[in-house]
Subunit: 349 residues, 2 copies
């Protein structure tokens, strides 16, 4: 019998950041698709839309008027899932019915005054302003004494539940450390205590030697499809240097991160020739007042598309009840992304 | 200030089965929706469709002909994600690149020869035949010595990535215990060792006293919205008696489970007057040869719809990066489901 190899045989891969496994079924990528096909609405949008809640000068649902902002703009979400001032308390009479009040703050971050841009189409200087704003918000929100975790993220595209195409992201800052970053923190700490090194720094250095999952690198950042990726074209942007959070980025590193953010999202758009939907976010050290030398800043990108602009991967059934599963291997995904032209498909330069 | 209460104030709830938390934002359910709206294709289907891979007598993609089955029918998935005969091996030179071959078997379970039925529209005797087949499969697959976990599940509806509307479910049986049931097993065991009782039996008994999350009960089963539900209308069907797996069900209990399965799915269909999409599955003891007295059989239902047949809850952004989040409380969801008429909306009896 042939020898076991990751390119051809069903296997599980371990995610050392979360301690979880993904089921990989490489032999299965040729399965026919008869299921739901998504609609692609690649309508060209105007620079300014008078009905958009996020465009400069417009009035939002709650009657507040946006300033005539020139680059970025942040404000408290009008429909915040988390609120700063609530009665606190908990319910714990019984180990089976446990609940705790949760304080927090939700903000919306407009990336650009222009309604019709997205990150891959913005210039580096404008993307850097988004990163500068993230730094400011992480610092301000993280300094509040009831905020121990600041989650910066972006939902892009209708397919990702994004209700407004104006380029924007969100921040949900809160009292508790949510389960996902908590899990990562635990595994990062275990590794750091054992090796006195950052898990992700070691990981990036090894990936740079192996090469096959690397999408690109610049002076300070690496874009790659992680060995343990769940989504078909999942990717990470990781700093080469061991930096625990966004406050540690130098000016040059912020520019490099802008470059990496743009390069990855151009690859995505070029993959199926469509503005590529995804959720992305930053994981970094909690703002609970401790040092957290184990943390290593990174961005994770979770795009749903599988084989075309209209066919996505459904994380349902087995995935919901048992474990995530993927068909195409992370190595094949990296190969495809790397083979694309570098310029954005809409510019064709 | 008002006192903290679960009906009005943002809080987190603990899931004692998985050890994870869900963020609940009850104040937020009135948020307007401007995002993606799903298509509803409530076309009436024929009893038999000559192009369907699952209808009796039809030929499947790989040339095999289905028998002229009268009630249920199971076969090995033509596009199995898991295979029984593969070269085994592992990759573990480094703690950051860990992978293991995974053997397994995937089966498709046709619920009925009739192309145009769904569980809520089938009669009890026919649903019981589905359960009988699950028992047979769990026993047969679980007896194979390389199978340690049997995941029985159903993806219903295009929105849940289901590529064929013919009523059917799946079984993925495999070597390892996947993360989700593994987590549940760990928490069930901890509770069992401490109290010498089944966590879920204690939970069901308490819910029956509290009443507000109970959807229905029959002689042997309870349908409820769990205190820690993630999806807007998530529900569980739990046996009142402490049964570790489907092999322990008496004939009467199988009939009761059919009744519970039908009652819950009728509620779902009636909620928005549409054939309600969901993923559902059974969690029960692994088939690894050990006793597992800690396990307690239950079915979990994860439906994506939020506020109408066309608006679903997106588990994206914050949910992918941080933690699941919900707006409507589990208690409110139970109240709504309980208030619906008992007969199926298409029958109006
Ligand atoms: O097996 P199917 O119905 O083709 O596929 C569906 O169920 C599988 C198991 O839950 C998922 O992995 C797929 O993403 C989904 O589309
Ligand atoms: O806040 P939005 O854009 O209205 O809503 C979107 O992002 C949120 C945070 O990831 C999710 O909870 C919602 O399900 C999603 O539709």
């Amino acid at each position: 019998m042939e020898q076991f190899n990751l390119e051809n045989h069903p296997h599980r891969r371990y995610n050392p950041l979360t301690g979880e496994w993904v089921q990989v079924s490489p032999h299965r990528s040729k399965r026919p698709w008869q299921g739901q096909v998504e609609e692609v609405t690649e309508s060209s949008r105007p620079r300014y839309d008078s009905k958009c809640f996020l465009c400069p000068g417009n009035t939002r649902a709650n009657g507040i008027q946006n300033p005539d902002y020139q680059d970025t703009f942040s404000f408290v979400n009008d429909f915040s899932a988390l609120l700063p001032e609530i009665p606190t308390g908990s319910k714990e009479e019984d180990s089976l019915f446990v609940a705790k009040s949760e304080r927090g703050l939700c903000k919306v971050i407009c990336f650009s005054p222009r309604h019709n841009l997205t990150i891959p189409e913005m210039d580096l200087a404008s993307i850097k302003k988004v990163i500068d704003l993230w730094v400011k918000e992480y610092l301000e929100l993280g300094s509040l004494d009831f905020i121990n975790h600041v989650q910066i993220f972006e939902n892009k595209g209708e397919m990702m539940g994004c209700s407004n195409p104006h380029p924007h992201g969100q921040i949900w800052a809160q009292e508790s450390i949510p389960d996902n970053p908590k899990k990562k923190g635990k595994h990062l700490l275990k590794y750091f205590e054992k090796y006195k090194r950052s898990l992700l720094q070691d990981y990036v250095e090894k990936e740079l030697l192996i090469k096959e999952r690397i999408l690109f690198e610049n002076e300070h950042f690496v874009g790659l499809v992680p060995f343990w990726a769940i989504w078909p074209f999942e990717a990470m942007i990781i700093s080469k240097r061991h930096i625990t959070n966004i406050l540690g980025l130098t000016e040059n590193e912020r520019t490099s991160l802008s470059d990496a953010y743009k390069r990855l999202t151009i690859m995505y758009d070029n993959l199926f020739g469509v503005s590529f939907p995804y959720s992305a976010g930053i994981h970094q050290s909690p703002t609970d007042g401790n040092e957290h030398p184990e943390w290593h800043i990174h961005m994770s990108f979770y795009p749903p598309l599988l084989r075309s602009a209209t066919v996505k991967k459904f994380m349902v059934g087995y995935e919901m009840l048992a474990s995530p599963q993927r068909d195409i291997t992370p190595e094949a995904a990296a190969r495809i992304l790397k083979s694309l032209e570098l310029g954005h498909y809409r510019e064709k330069y």
